[in-house]
Subunit: 338 residues, 2 copies
């Protein structure tokens, strides 16, 4: 049975969301879950739920917790007994095959990279965002914030890793890989995209060339590659615009009697709509390129998001994603050296 460690103290709703997510995963997915956190707090949360005694859930104590305000480097240096550090150690030591955290993204990335180490051939782990598209298929955006200043070669590695993820975890057949730029034509872009184009062409990818920001949500590409600064801006612009649309729509609907009635009637439709935009279905953002598996969830994650992240961590391990990445990058190096 695969074992996934969960940082029980990470998210905004910790440990409630983490514990409930763990229960659902252990019950529905046939996965063993190790909840890492303050023992008494986690146990109390677990005991609130009925019939959890027989589930494959274990608690491992951690006396410290990294907050959202902690700097990544400082958290790593000073909080050696934090729940996320211990969860990562469980993966390093082979006790768990992957770990899930809804905590401080910077601290989780730094910890996973240093404690678990990187997959052979990977220069830098990359954080992935999984987004919905108008076609109903998921698109992988990489990197969304792990590496701000990238070399063309790093972008090529991100592409290889994300392609494998799209193919094996999201089950996209022959994923179309695009380089995020400001126009479809090859000559459009900046120094980095110009230098990255020949690298992408040399790789074993279904490379469709440059794509624009508007293509991310269009469903005409499965993997969109950029440096972590651009990807982070793209992701957060989306969050901000989504929040504004929700705000305006609610306001517009509440501002009139007919709007109120319309709103009441259209409620089911809105629920369907919201579900399609619900990122939590995709189970968080994997940090690609670290040994084991590391899935980072949004701080706001609910139990369903945590459960799905545990599922992804298990699939990641079961699908031998890291072995595939290692093999592909070794092949890429050999090819480039021909």
């Amino acid at each position: 049975m695969l074992t996934i460690a969960v940082d029980a103290m990470g998210g905004d709703h910790a440990p409630k969301a983490e514990v409930e997510g763990a229960i659902r995963a252990a019950r529905d997915l046939g996965v063993k879950v190790i909840l890492v956190g303050q023992q008494d707090v986690v146990r109390r949360e677990l005991e609130v739920q009925d019939g959890t005694g027989s589930l494959p859930i274990e608690i491992v104590h951690a006396s410290e917790r990294v907050t959202m305000e902690d700097g990544a480097a400082k958290a790593f240096r000073l909080k050696r007994d934090s729940s996320l550090r211990i969860a990562s150690r469980l993966v390093r030591d082979g006790v768990a095959q992957g770990f899930v955290s809804a905590g401080n993204t910077g601290a989780v990335m730094a910890t996973a990279k240093i404690v678990q180490g990187v997959v052979p051939g990977v220069e830098r782990p990359a954080l992935v965002g999984i987004l919905p598209t108008a076609e109903g298929t998921p698109v992988v955006l990489v990197d969304v914030g792990a590496n701000v200043d990238c070399t063309p070669r790093m972008l090529g590695q991100f592409a290889v890793m994300a392609e494998i993820y799209s193919r094996n975890i999201l089950h996209r057949p022959n994923p179309r890989v695009g380089l995020l730029s400001i126009g479809e034509e090859e000559h459009k872009g900046n120094e980095l995209t110009h230098a990255a184009t020949p690298v992408f062409k040399s790789l074993n990818l279904n490379f469709v060339g440059n794509v624009e920001g508007s293509d991310i949500y269009a469903g005409n590409v499965d993997v969109v590659v950029c440096d972590g600064f651009v990807g982070n801006v793209a992701l957060k612009v989306s969050e901000g615009l989504g929040d504004m649309v929700k705000h305006f729509l609610g306001e517009a609907l509440e501002s009139s009697i007919s709007g109120k009635i319309g709103y009441a009637i259209a409620k089911t439709a809105f629920a369907t709509f919201k579900k399609r935009l619900d990122y939590s279905e995709y189970g968080g953002a994997p940090l690609l390129g670290v040994r084991g598996a590391c899935i980072i969830c949004h701080g706001r994650s609910n139990a369903n998001a945590i459960k799905n992240a545990i599922r992804v961590a298990a699939e990641f391990s079961g699908g031998k994603i890291n072995q595939r990445i290692e093999d592909e990058l070794r092949g890429a190096v050999r090819k480039a050296g021909d």
Copy 2:
């Protein structure tokens, strides 16, 4: 009377949208409009409308037209008699105080820069995007695609120009200026933002530090500065997400009988909502830093968008924006040289 030249052959709906926009501007704003394009086509479109004979509208013939497929450099080299080139020349020669085009953005930028020249002290003109926020106030995003690889000093100039625009055209009091990055803390960001921070601090700006992608639409900042690659991605991601939301919402509402009824009733509310998101109210994107004024509209612009762009071009000139930019940049240089 201020005179604004309009590239009548630029947009997807040319010359209809351009001519109707010109009529509305000439009628409502007290501005003289010169329509530049194929004389017979433009005249025919003008004569379709009643009572335009007495309006201050003139036609200047241009035998060529730049298409969306033309490369910017090639269009400039080969189409010397294009409508946009002639419109730009009218500004250079002082016949018009500004020009408006809904044509090929790259070609418009290149032409305005070369034909009209740049404001003294400006290294590179910058393209501005004006976006709505949850607070109902407009936010200026700069640069959205004119300059992909920028120096910290260029970002500082963009900030100065956009601040003046926000203050004088959008009437924001003491505009808050933010540097687009991937976290609020000063140490977060890439090489460019790190190097730009001291430049921004040295300028005469209400600098609020780093802002994130999600802040663009939040209404807590009035001017957001980034290089043109990042800004273009941010703008197009917004367009793509907006299209997807519209698609999903329509689909969800049509998928059920109650949804259909809800939709019918909520229609007014949706219209209000759409109006709040309607970029055309802000009248296109100014290219800041060129002599005269150059307002670039979306290819999809309707007559209302064209009219508003003409209004902005006139306000730009009336507000002496370029003089203010020149003065401010001269002051900035003096300050930096102290």
